[in-house]
């Protein structure tokens, strides 16, 4: 009836795998983006778990930085998706196979 830290690591591996599979099978660019967020969160869970294993707070600070970078990435990514949608009227990743036009 105890939760070892390995349970947290296994759970975050599971969430990361679900995110990877989602990126591979979904076609909607926004859903693909959400799966990337899921993977980032799984890695954050790993970092916080390592922070507890080591008994220091460096992992939590690193998770904080990952969150900031994720926020910046979401802003730029959604702006790119919006500008692709404006020119192509579609948010499917299959429709945007060229960088220009």
């Amino acid at each position: 009836m105890r939760v070892g830290t390995n349970a947290y690591l296994l759970l975050s591996a599971l969430l990361f795998t679900i995110g990877v599979v989602g990126v591979l099978i979904r076609r909607n660019a926004i859903v693909v983006f959400m799966c990337i967020e899921l993977m980032l969160n799984a890695v954050n869970l790993t970092l916080v778990t390592f922070s507890r294993i080591n008994g220091t707070l460096d992992g939590q600070v690193m998770a904080f930085f990952v969150m900031v970078v994720a926020a910046a990435e979401v802003v730029v990514g959604l702006a790119i998706i919006m500008s692709i949608f404006r020119t192509r009227r579609s948010s499917s990743v299959d429709d945007s196979n060229l960088l220009k036009y």
Binding site: M1, V20, I30, L38, S51, F64, V76
Partner: protein, 178 residues
């Protein structure tokens, strides 16, 4: 050695961990499988709240609060905003455009999970249950703030710069060109 004795705290952690773990995995799978992108976004919010619960269990109260405020609050609202802006009428295409893509994705995912599980089973990551009680004695937020403004102050400034660049980049990309 009373290693095997289960304290009340550990039992409480177990009883919190198991439902949260099940809920988070179910929400993640539902996010991937749901056809409507809005449902995916809502399932992702559920998953983020579960992760905030895990952070509390792992003695990371500050990260838990930031998870709720920044991720579930700001980032997911941004996602929903863009979803509504693009129109939610466009359902996802369900036919496979590349033959054999989904079985390949499943196999690759299982391989990844197997590799990480193998490393965990072999004790590759220590696996000891440490405790943050000593460093959190004066408060988790205070300890993180002290670390952020001493050892990681350069990274902190760089990340601030990154946020400014991202905001300017979003402005440039979002500008409507006639």
């Amino acid at each position: 050695m009373t290693v095997l004795a289960v304290t009340a705290t550990e039992r409480a952690e177990f009883l919190t961990f198991v439902p949260l773990a099940i809920l988070s995995v179910v929400a993640a799978v539902a996010m991937v499988l749901s056809r409507n992108a809005v449902y995916s976004a809502l399932m992702l919010v559920v998953n983020f709240f579960c992760l905030a619960g895990f952070y509390v269990l792992l003695e990371a109260q500050f990260i838990a609060a930031v998870q709720v405020i920044v991720y579930a609050g700001a980032i997911m609202v941004l996602f929903l905003f863009v979803l509504m802006l693009l129109g939610i009428g466009s359902e996802d295409v369900l036919t496979e455009t590349i033959p054999g893509q989904r079985p390949a994705a499943a196999v690759l995912g299982l391989l990844l999970l197997g590799a990480v599980g193998f490393a965990l089973a072999n004790g590759g990551f220590g696996g000891g249950a440490g405790s943050l009680a000593a460093v959190n004695a004066g408060g988790n937020v205070q300890a993180i703030g002290r670390l952020l403004f001493t050892r990681y102050v350069f990274a902190f400034e760089a990340v601030g710069m990154l946020l400014v660049v991202a905001a300017v980049g979003a402005l440039v990309l979002g500008k409507w060109r006639q």
